[in-house]
Amino acid sequence: MAGFRPDSTKFPARANLDGQGIVVLRTKTGFRGVQRSCPHLQGTMMNAELIANDTMVRCPLHVFTFKLSDGKGVNCPGFRLKVYEIKEENGMFFGRSVN
């Protein structure tokens, strides 16, 4: 992920992964990427809230809530958020789609 420096970046942070805009969240166990806008009504995930010990993310517009593990909607069946695994190797950051 070009230009993404977690040591100097405030979170949530915008990043690009293979030309796809994502939002990188810092959780208690590391980093996680999600799509930029909520699949419900396209609220920005830059204002999303981490909940349930950082295992879920919640859109502030209508509290639609998604699991960070697989993106599944918790209180919104049928909805799924794109989620990305983010890893650091030798000072470089790599992302990979989970779902």
Binding site: T65, N75, P77, G78
Partner: protein
């Protein structure tokens, strides 16, 4: 919460009862759960007095549009009822004819009086983004069943609801109007397209054409497609014509349905809702709706007087719902349903459902509620508690309340798992819901409980307790459909195999 006392005087509040023309400081005398009268009288030594001076007092508020039941409902609907100053509310579309029996099982648990604004579709409102409004043929409206239900439970039904959205044409609206006429109930229509980006045929104008005197249109000030104003901000003639015919306009604030821009333009031209309702549900109670009181404060900010606001949550909804024999006023003999509230002055902000926020100087704050004379301390935070609105399937654990299920309930769950194991289902889309499949799953639920001789309440409790930590209630077919099939069947088996707790 305190039990109703036989005789009580609420002393010194500014009493507002538009129905009786009362707008002054006065005492309100209650006895045996009913209003005795408003005024002064020498008190007997046994009479309990509550000093409410410095406050306002009105008949208990009626919220004509909430979601207490179903996929949008609350774990404890009283949190948006008596604990927010609301003594009567109507579930706007949660149940349809196919689930009204399930809906009724909720009633016995509530302090707030709940009525059904039944939905045209048998399963009731689907909620979320599932496409609504697809009842298009007479065959989808089981009129005999509706008539039979209405004959037995006429008092429960207060209106028939449909949504004037989607791209199916006005058929649904006309079918619902026909059903409402057959049942002698008002028609209640949602306006504001929020599901489709570019429908070919907006249905909001059709709603205003179809509605007759006494019918209701909700979300008057929404900012979606199909507004009450045109592009230049002028109120549409068709809206004025409906108003002249006696159509009732309801606010229905909601999570998508109130725009400051639309409200200010329409209000300035004298287009004012007859009833103020919240549309409270899981996805708007944290923000922006919060409470009926917050919505009432928004109406003060818009330009209504306190008296006008109170009229729209007491007298007007009671009339619209044909409840004047039991709500909406402090007339002698009516139930002692009362709301005590303050009107605070300060610096407040009130958000609409979009991005607009208005500064406000007044805020309505309910303090005490009396329901049939029984006292409740208002606690606006209760509704906001995550456990009250965050409906989460207990995927990684069996809810503790499942351990309280009886042997008969476990036996029912075992039989239900066996019967469901031959059925396939999948929730594949956020937009399209297989309603036929939901009805099929529900039919199996009923067949199994019939064979097991289990009451509906016991059967519902056993399924809810298998999957939900909190006491949410919803259409059983929709609950099963939203579960992943292997998980659902395994969980039913797991719970049915648990040993019951010893007495």
């Amino acid at each position: 919460m305190e039990p109703a006392t036989s005789s009580l005087v609420l002393k010194g509040a500014h009493v507002m009862d538009p129905e009786q023309g009362i707008d002054r400081v006065a005492d309100v005398h209650l006895a045996d759960g009913k209003v005795q009268f408003v005024g002064s009288r020498e008190l007997t030594p046994n009479t309990k007095v509550v000093d409410v001076s410095g406050h306002y007092l009105s008949a208990g508020w009626t919220d004509i549009h909430v979601h207490a039941y179903g996929t949008l409902g609350f774990a404890n609907p009283d949190t948006v009822g008596v604990y927010q100053g609301v003594t009567t509310f109507v579930d706007a579309g949660g149940p349809g004819i196919g689930v009204l029996d399930q809906f009724m099982e909720l009633l016995g648990n509530l302090e707030t009086t709940l009525y059904a604004g039944a939905f045209i579709r048998p399963m009731g409102l689907l909620g979320l983004n599932f496409i609504e409004g697809d009842v298009r043929t007479l065959g989808e409206v089981p009129i005999t069943r509706w008539l039979d239900f209405a004959k037995q439970h006429r008092d429960l039904l207060r209106y028939i609801k449909c949504n004037a959205i989607g791209d199916y044409g006005p058929g649904t609206l006309k079918l619902t109007k026909g059903l409402a006429e057959i049942l002698s109930l008002p028609l209640y229509m949602h306006i504001g397209e929020f599901q489709l980006q570019n429908p070919k045929h907006l249905l909001a104008p059709e709603a205003f054409r179809i509605a007759e005197a006494g019918d209701m249109i909700t979300h008057l000030y929404h900012g979606n497609l199909g507004q009450v104003i045109d592009e230049s901000g002028k109120v549409l003639p068709i809206v004025r014509e409906a108003e002249r015919r006696g159509v009732i306009f309801d606010l229905g604030f909601g999570g998508y349905n109130f725009s400051w821009d639309v409200a200010e333009k329409a209000f300035a031209q004298g287009l004012i809702p007859h009833t103020i309702s919240s549309d409270l549900q899981q996805f708007n109670v944290v923000r922006p709706v919060k409470s009926l009181a917050n919505v009432m404060s928004a109406m003060i900010r818009l330009g209504m007087t306190v008296s006008q606001v109170i009229e729209r949550v007491t007298r007007n909804p009671a009339k619209a719902l044909s409840l004047t024999d039991r709500a909406g006023s402090l007339k002698p003999g009516l139930p002692a349903d009362i709301t005590v509230f303050r009107v605070d002055t300060g610096d407040y902000e009130i958000a609409d459902c979009y991005t607009k926020v208005r500064k406000a100087e007044k805020q309505i704050v309910p303090v005490l509620t009396f329901k049939n004379g029984k006292r409740f301390e208002v606690d606006l935070a209760l509704a906001q508690d995550e456990s009250n609105w965050f409906l989460q399937i207990a995927e990684d654990h069996v809810p503790s309340r499942a351990s309280s299920l009886s042997e008969r309930q476990r036996s029912f769950l075992s039989a239900l798992a066996a019967n469901l194991s031959s059925i396939n289902w999948e929730l594949s889309s956020a937009e399209r819901l297989d309603i036929e499949k939901a009805l099929e799953l529900q039919d199996i639920f009923h067949q199994v409980r019939g064979k097991q001789g289990l009451s509906l309440k016991e059967a519902l409790q056993s399924v809810y307790a298998s999957f939900l930590d909190q006491n949410f209630t919803m259409q059983i077919g929709l609950l099963l459909l939203r579960l992943e099939r292997p998980f659902a069947i395994q969980r039913l088996r797991d719970v049915s195999g648990q040993r019951p707790m010893a007495a």
